[in-house]
Amino acid sequence: MTDRPTASPAGSRRPLLQVRDLKVHFDTPDGVVKAVDGVTFDIHPGETLGVVGESGSGKSVTFLTIMGLITAKQARVEGEVVFDGQDLLALPENEYRHFRGRRMGMVFQDAMTSLHPFYVVGEQIAEAVRAHEKISKRAAFDRAVDMLQRVGIPKPAERARQYPHEYSGGMRQRAMIAMALSLNPDMLIADEPTTALDVTVQSQILELIDRLRQEFQAAVVIITHDLGVVAEHCDHIQVMYAGRLVETGRTRDIYYRAHHPYTWGLLQSIPRLGVEEHRLRPIRGLPPSLIFVPPGCPFHPRCPYAWEECQRVVPELLSPDGVHASACHLSLADKERLFREEVLERA
């Protein structure tokens, strides 16, 4: 284990998940894609973590690797993923299968393609239960009906016998959450769970995840590209860019004291309801290719404050207070001043 600072609170509880210097590199004909390039963080039991970044920042790959869905067969995976004291990367596939689903569940962005169109929803949930528990088909189906009810699907007994196409988008996502929680996992990973949904349904789903987190005492990870989505529902937030963590902290640190220019850019890109007549200030340019990641700080070509050092030296993820960390060469005083002047006052 390295003595790098992490986003974990200085609590005495043992972390549920410890990720240490995780790297996931894909060999492609064009070169090595460094999708995840040295990520270190902890997740504590019952905590909600928001993971924010643009497409291609490595947020999904990080958690697919943790779920064991990207393995040494597809990529070069390095580092440590320790879940409840067990090193997952060292597990053989057949043992991983006992782990995945039972201890951690995952909900994907597109619920339509994640559910099998030929089977009724109840059977699909029951199948997931029976993959891990020795119970009768009947009992598993009853569990599925119960789960559908708990995620707020009306007439669950009828609905369990329907096919995914008979469900609306929001209900499919609820069914996916029911499936992920049917084995009472310790951690639920939701990868862009609401991106394809209407705002009204989005808020229903986020409320649901919040309620179930308390009910099931599970840690929750919400992966999103929209800082607006996670403001109300997360304890901690980590911002990813080009396969690395660039800022981590408590939710309030990110929204009211952000230290990284990339986080500022994300905050300034969102239209704010409460603010009259302002102009959005998007981050200029595009996310970098993960084959040719810029040297030094990967954000420097898009950063308005970059100087010579940024092009040479990779900034470490450092934390002045042990909780709120950022990987940026600006001094703390400059970060605080720039955030006040550029982000808060111009918002």
């Binding site: 705002v199 300034q268 309801l273 200030r281 998007p282």
Partner: protein, 351 residues
């Protein structure tokens, strides 16, 4: 860039011919049964009586959940669908029943930007050919001029003109949306209907496209109809916002009024669902949570269409009497028997 103040927007005179006027527009789709002898067994009331005036140079936002009829309305305006009932007027001219040939000059005046930048560009054509299609179809530019004009358009929307010969798959989502915008601009239209132009994009890229659309509006005096389900985006770009529910406009107001004093509970619900990137402000707003999904437009609920989901519904008034759009603040109309009190959702004073 001159920024209009809120006052000047609201006091914009409603006199003069509106650029686009809709009168009682309805679009019903038949539901049929049987293969050979198709029998009509019902109809989808996708758009069910919409009146709207769009003035030159303004941006009208259209919000609502999936299935509220906002995209259908856009397609009726573009005459991709024929209206079942009602009248469409462009610059005072009734074009509701124009045939193909008569529509042609009008098509130059109104263009559309689509939601999905992946599906709306032909993957087998180069960008140059995609953007120059309007020139070829309408013959507005001589052959020798086409390439120069296309490259000017590409530069205008922030694309590298040297990428003239590239294919859509070589561009990112945001760049593709820029291609879509360039194509829409090619014929110098006056009205552009943007159907969820940013919902498929990352937030940071969304902001780039929104700014681009606003700059182009300043430069060319464009009029936009901007459709989205996210009220924060719509509020940001629009002068006035129409909220649609099950084929009808339930509230219409200047965007700042709509935000501070929504009158229709549905508007309130949309507003309380918008993600706010500010934990304190978000926790200060009052939640109006809607149960369930939008009912089927095949058989819309009686009375107020919103009553089965409305937290404030009072019976039997709401389930029997259909509310009409009634004025509240200047420029604001809402169709509700029991409108929300002022500052019902977000109280800026307490935040």
């Amino acid at each position: 860039m001159t920024v209009e103040t809120q006052e000047s927007r609201m006091e914009r005179p409603a006199s003069g011919t509106p650029l686009l006027k809709l009168e009682g527009v309805k679009k019903h789709f038949p539901i049929t049964q049987g293969v050979l002898f198709q029998k009509r067994i019902g109809q989808v009331h996708a758009v069910d009586g919409v009146d709207l005036e769009v003035h030159s140079g303004e941006t009208i936002g259209l919000v609502g959940e999936t299935g509220c009829g906002k995209s259908t309305l856009a397609r009726v305006i573009m005459r991709s669908y024929d209206a079942t009932e009602g009248r469409l007027l462009f610059d005072g001219q009734d074009y509701t029943t124009f045939g193909r040939r008569k529509m042609r000059p009008l098509r130059r005046e109104m263009q559309m930007v689509f939601q999905d930048p992946y599906a709306s560009l032909n993957p087998r054509k180069t960008v140059g050919s995609i953007i120059s299609d309007p020139f070829r179809i309408h013959g507005t530019v001589s052959k020798g001029e086409v390439k120069k004009q296309v490259q000017e358009l590409m530069e205008l929307v922030g694309l590298n003109p040297e990428h003239y010969n590239r294919y859509p798959h070589e561009f990112s989502g945001g760049q593709r949306q820029r291609i879509g915008v360039a194509r829409a601009l090619a014929l110098h239209p006056r009205l552009i209907v943007c159907d969820e132009p940013v919902s498929a994009l990352d937030v940071s890229i969304q902001a780039q496209i929104i700014n681009l659309l606003q700059e182009l509006q300043q430069e060319f005096g464009l009029t936009y109809i901007f459709i989205a389900h996210d009220l924060s985006v719509v509020k940001h770009v629009s002068d006035r916002v129409a909220v649609m529910y099950l084929g009808k406009i339930v509230e219409f107001a200047p965007s700042s009024v709509l935000y501070e004093n929504p009158k229709h509970p549905y508007t309130g619900a949309l507003l309380s669902a918008v993600p706010i990137p500010d934990p304190d402000l978000a926790s200060h707003r009052k939640r109006i949570v809607l149960e369930g999904d939008v009912p089927s437009p095949i058989d819309p609920p009686s009375g107020c269409r919103f009553h089965p989901r409305c937290p404030n519904a009072q019976f039997p008034t709401c389930s029997e009497v259909e509310p009409q759009l009634e004025p509240h603040r200047p420029g604001q109309v809402a169709a509700c028997h029991f409108p929300l009190p002022d500052r019902a959702v977000i109280d800026t004073a307490s935040a």
